[in-house]
C-alpha cells in the first residue's frame, strides 16, 4: 500500500491549517457564505438538511486497519457512532459541527487520510476496482495509476474551478467493477500490441439527469503519457464546457454536443502540445509509486494450497462462500466481501463497533488491509482459504456474515430525503422494505445475481440508471413516487436502464419489485441471470405483469 512521505504528509497537514484559517474567517464573518461555500466543498463539507456532512476520501478504496479504526473513532467522537460508506469509495458523516471539521481533518491527516476534493467542481476522489492487486486477470494493479492521479489532481491550480464536478475511475480487468464507463474519465488498463500495459480512455460518461455511457476517446494511450493526456482533456473541458447552466455543465454534455470524434480531435490537438510541456510523470517517480503496490508476501503452506477447506459441510458457510468470496490471484487465498447490507439495514452504514471489528479481523485474516467497494460493501482482500471458516464464524458473531453479495438485497441507495437537501423522495426506507421482503436467503440465492439501485432524485447518486432494477424517487404533488427502470448495468457491458411505465407509491414499489423478480423467475432459461433475461425478452413481459393488475 502507498505510504505518505514527508511531502505528502506536509500537503495534508498544511491543508488542515489552511482550512482552519478558512473556518475561522467564516465564523468571524470575514468570509461570506457565498465565498466560503466552494472552499468548504473542496474539503468535503456539505450543508445538508439537518447538519453539516463531511465526506472523507478513501482513495481507490484501499484502507489499512489503522485507518479504519480512525474512521470508527471519528464516528464516535464527532458523529452519532455511525459512518456511511458511499458509492464512490468515500465515507460520510452526517452530523458534523462546522467548528469541529478542522479537528476531524487533523485526525485524518494523522493516519494519512483527508477529505480533499471529495466535493465541489474539482477532480474528485479517484476510484478503482476494489479487487485491485488481487484480481486474477488484471493487467496490472490499477492503484498505481490511481495514486498518480490522486497526487496530480490534488490542488491542481488550473482545474480547481471547473464547470462542474469531475470523476475519474480506473480498472485493469476485463470485468469492470469500477463502473468506468459511467465516469467523466474512465481508464481501462489494457495490453497494447506488444503486450505492455496501456490505457483505454473513456470520456463523458455519467448518470444524473442525462445519463451517458462514455465513448472510447483514446485507445491504448502509452502509460508514460497519462498526465499530459489528462491535462489536455481537462483543459478542453475547462475552457469549453458550459458554465451557464449547472445541468448542462458536466463534460458528458460537451462530448455529446461536439460528438465523440470532434471532442477526441480537440483533445488530441491539445495533447500534441501538452506532451511537450514537461507534464508527464518522471519515470523514476512512477517506479517509486509502483513499488508501494508490490504484492505482499503470501503464505506457501501446504494447508492453504490444499483443495479441501474446513467447514464446507455447513450449508450456511457454503452459501456465504458462493456469494461473498472471489478468486484471488495468489494460490491458497480468497477475496472476501463483507456485506454492509443486513436485512432491513441501511445500505453502507457501519457503526463504530463494526468498523473496529472489521479492522481487527483485517489484522487477523487479511494482512491488515481493507477495501471499500462502490457497491457500499467492504472487502478483506487477502484471506487464506484455510482460515475462511474461522473468519466467517467471527463475522457471523458480529452480524457481518450476510451471504448476499451481488444478490437482490445487496442494494445501493443514496441517502435520499432522510438526509439530503436535493432529494425528492426517501431511498433508505425503500431499500429496507425491499430487503425485508426478500429476507429469505434461499430465495435470494435461487433468484441469483440482481443489482437494485435506488436514487432519491434525478441526480442519481444511487446509480439507478445502472441498476438491473433501478428505482428513482420523484416528487409528485408533494407525495413520494417511484419510477422503475430495467436493464441498466454499471459493468463492462454498461447500459442505461429504461423506464417501465407509471410510477408507484412507497408501498407499491416494493410489490412491483417482487412482481418483476417473480416474472423473471418464471421466464428465465436455465442458468440465465436477471440482466441477460431482461436483455433477451425486453421490458414487455414485465410491463404486462406489473400493469395488468392495476
Amino acid at each position: 500500500m502507498y505510504q505518505y512521505d514527508a511531502y505528502d504528509q506536509a500537503m495534508v497537514d498544511t491543508r488542515v491549517a489552511e482550512f482552519r484559517d478558512q473556518v475561522a474567517r467564516r465564523l468571524s464573518g470575514a468570509l461570506s457564505e457565498e465565498h466560503f461555500r466552494p472552499l468548504r466543498l473542496l474539503n468535503g463539507l456539505y450543508l445538508q438538511l439537518h447538519a453539516y456532512m463531511l465526506r472523507v476520501a478513501i482513495p481507490y478504496g484501499t484502507l489499512t486497519s489503522r485507518q479504519m479504526r480512525t474512521l470508527a473513532d471519528i464516528a464516535e467522537k464527532y458523529d452519532r457512532g455511525y459512518g456511511h460508506f458511499t458509492t464512490r469509495q468515500n465515507i460520510q458523516y452526517n452530523w458534523i459541527k462546522l467548528e469541529q471539521a478542522p479537528d476531524i481533518l487533523a485526525d485524518l491527516a494523522a493516519v494519512q487520510m483527508h477529505a480533499i476534493q471529495t466535493s465541489g467542481n474539482v477532480i474528485r476522489n479517484v476510484t478503482a476496482d476494489h479487487f485491485a492487486g488481487v484480481a486474477k486477470d488484471e493487467v496490472e494493479d490499477p492503484r498505481i495509476a490511481a495514486e498518480i492521479i490522486r497526487q496530480w489532481s490534488t490542488f491542481h491550480p488550473e482545474f480547481s474551478f471547473l464547470p462542474r464536478k469531475f470523476k475519474i475511475a480506473v480498472t485493469a480487468d476485463t470485468k469492470d467493477r469500477a463502473a468506468v464507463k459511467f465516469h467523466d474519465i474512465g481508464i481501462a488498463i489494457v495490453k497494447d500490441a506488444k503486450g505492455a500495459p496501456a490505457y483505454d480512455v473513456y470520456v463523458g460518461g455519467g448518470m444524473g439527469r442525462t445519463p451517458f455511457v462514455a465513448p472510447l476517446i483514446k485507445s491504448k494511450l502509452p502509460k508514460t503519457e497519462l498526465l499530459s493526456y489528462l491535462d489536455a482533456t481537462l483543459r478542453v473541458y475547462n475552457r469549453y464546457g458550459r458554465r451557464d447552466n449547472i445541468y448542462k455543465a458536466r463534460i458528458k454534455i460537451l462530448v455529446d454536443a461536439l460528438g465523440p470524434e470532434e471532442f477526441a480531435r480537440q483533445v488530441e490537438d491539445e495533447w500534441q502540445l501538452t506532451r511537450q510541456e514537461h507534464i508527464n510523470l518522471p519515470p523514476e517517480e512512477e517506479a517509486r509509486i509502483r513499488a508501494f503496490f508490490a504484492p505482499p508476501a503470501y503464505t506457501t503452506e501446504a494447508a492453504d494450497l490444499a483443495a479441501n477447506m474446513p467447514g464446507t459441510n455447513d450449508p450456511a458457510f457454503r452459501a456465504w462462500l458462493s456469494t461473498n468470496t472471489h478468486a484471488h490471484k495468489a494460490a491458497g487465498y480468497s477475496i472476501v466481501t463483507i456485506s454492509l447490507k443486513p436485512i432491513g439495514g441501511i445500505p453502507g452504514d457501519a457503526s463504530t463497533a463494526e468498523m473496529n471489528r472489521v479492522a481487527d479481523l483485517a489484522d487477523t485474516y487479511s494482512l491488515g488491509e481493507i477495501r471499500v467497494t462502490h457497491e457500499q460493501n467492504l472487502i478483506l482482500p487477502h484471506v487464506r482459504r484455510s482460515q475462511l471458516h474461522a473468519l466467517w464464524t467471527e463475522l457471523k458473531t458480529a452480524g457481518l456474515a450476510v451471504a448476499n453479495a451481488g444478490l437482490v438485497t445487496d442494494i445501493i441507495a443514496c441517502p435520499g430525503l432522510d438526509y439530503c437537501a436535493l432529494a425528492n423522495a426517501r431511498s433508505i426506507p425503500i431499500a429496507q422494505r425491499i430487503s425485508e421482503r426478500f429476507a429469505d436467503l434461499d430465495r435470494q440465492h435461487s433468484v441469483g445475481e440482481l443489482k437494485i439501485k435506488i436514487s432519491g432524485c434525478i441526480n442519481a447518486c444511487g446509480h439507478h440508471h445502472a441498476g438491473h432494477i433501478g428505482i428513482l424517487g420523484v416528487d409528485r404533488k408533494g407525495e413520494e413516487f417511484y419510477q422503475i427502470l430495467l436493464g441498466g448495468s454499471g459493468a463492462e457491458d454498461a447500459s442505461i436502464g429504461t423506464i417501465l411505465g407509471p410510477g408507484f407509491s412507497a408501498d407499491g414499489v416494493v410489490d412491483a419489485v417482487e412482481t418483476i423478480v417473480n416474472t423473471y423467475v418464471d421466464l428465465r432459461q436455465p442458468g440465465e441471470p436477471f440482466l441477460a433475461a431482461v436483455r433477451r425478452v425486453g421490458n414487455g413481459p414485465f410491463k404486462e405483469r406489473l400493469y395488468a393488475r392495476v
Partner: protein
Amino acid sequence: MPVFDASGLVDDHWIVLGDADPLPAGAPVLLTWERIARDGEAAFAGRDPRGVAISSDFDVAKLLPLLPRIGLVVVKPANFKDGRVFSVGRLLRQRYGFNGDLRIQGEFIPDQVPFLVRCGYSSFEAAPGFDLDAALRLLKVFAFNYQTGLADKNIFALRHNQPAAGRA
C-alpha cells in the same frame, strides 16, 4: 481599484483607455482586445508595449503574434467561479512564453490567489472589500506542489533530486 502583487500593493502606471479615447503620446495604455483588433497597427502607433484586456473566454492564440509588443494582459473572469482564467494563464505563460505582466481584474477571492500565481498571474486588481491580508498570507501556505510543468517547486522532482523538506 488597488492593484497588488505577491509582495503587496503596487503603483499601477497603466492608463485605461476606452475604445474611442485618443492615444496619448508616450504613456503606457491598456486597450481592449476589440480596439486592437479594430485598429490593428494604429492601436500601437509605433509605441510598444501596450496592455490588452480580454475576457476569460478569449481565444488566447489570437494574441500570439502580438505578444512581443504587449506588456500587460488583463483577464476578466465572469465571476469568481470562472475557472477559465487559470487555463488562460497557463497558456500565455507556458505555451506562448509571455513574460510581461499578467493580471486578473474583477471578482476573485483570496483563496484563489495561490492558484492564480501558479498559473502565471503576476498582478491582481480586486473588487472593493477584498481581503488583501488573507491573500498575501495564503500565498505562503504551500511550499511545494504536485503538478508538473509549472514554475513552482514540484514534489515529483524534489523527491528525486533533493531530500524531503520534512513536515510543515
